[in-house]
């Protein structure tokens, strides 16, 4: 069965500082991996996705993530955080079958200090 672990429940960074959110997954084959962002009271928005190929993927809003098979990780990064990045971030792993069901981590809440 597929699973996702986000080790950090809550992270606080200063505006302008760099950010890294951790994600570890468990899946029997090469996974489909995703990062979503959820602003308060909103649905989830897809930030970026990894299917295959280049292990460094670029997403929207200046985010990037790196797939490391040896570490079963897919960490999300941003060089310089803006106050508007404060939100909850979810990592997900998707099954490579027709149903394409995704399993989500419990999320990491990002607070940005001025």
């Amino acid at each position: 069965a597929q699973s996702v672990t986000q080790p950090d429940i809550h992270i606080t960074v200063s505006e302008g500082a760099s950010l890294e959110l951790r994600c570890n997954y468990s899946y029997g084959a090469t996974p489909y991996l995703f990062w979503y962002v959820q602003s308060p009271g909103q649905g989830l928005q897809l930030l970026l996705k990894y299917f295959s190929g280049d292990t460094l993927v670029q997403g929207i809003k200046g985010f990037e993530a790196e797939f490391k098979r040896s570490q079963s990780s897919f960490n999300l990064r941003k060089p310089s955080v803006h106050w508007s990045d404060a939100a909850e971030y979810f990592c997900a792993v998707g099954a490579q079958d027709n149903a394409g069901k995704s399993t989500f981590g419990d999320g990491t809440t990002l607070t940005v200090k001025p």
Binding site: F34, G43, L44, K49, T103, F104, D106, G107
Partner: protein
């Protein structure tokens, strides 16, 4: 495009009442999903559909039912509401060949 539309946005139910959460998408996506999100938790899959007329159970289907008579609509039915069903419900869809989801804005349900 409207994307994925969920109604209502908020609802309070009494124990034992029934209701239907509506989900409509205008992107002609075959694949649709219902998740629930409890505080401090990730999303848990309730039901999903790979096309009109085809539905299947997810991780937490008890207490819920779904139907998929059209490509656009995927309603979620709660027959006998229980306090354990207090949650935020999200509908999502995806197109063929792309495994990333488009989410609706959610329905916040409280059962008292």
């Amino acid at each position: 495009n409207a994307g994925v539309t969920q109604t209502p946005k908020f609802r309070i139910l009494k124990i034992g009442q029934s209701m239907t959460l509506q989900c409509t998408q205008d992107m002609n996506h075959n694949y649709m999903y219902w998740y629930r999100q409890d505080p401090g938790m990730g999303l848990k899959l309730i039901y999903y559909s790979v096309g009109a007329g085809i539905t299947d159970k997810g991780e937490v289907p008890n207490g819920y039912n779904v139907s998929r008579s059209t490509t656009e609509d995927f309603p979620l039915r709660l027959e006998l509401a229980a306090p354990s069903q207090t949650s935020v419900y999200f509908c999502a869809s995806r197109r063929e060949g792309d495994y990333g989801y488009t989410f609706g804005s959610g329905t916040r349900l409280t059962v008292v």
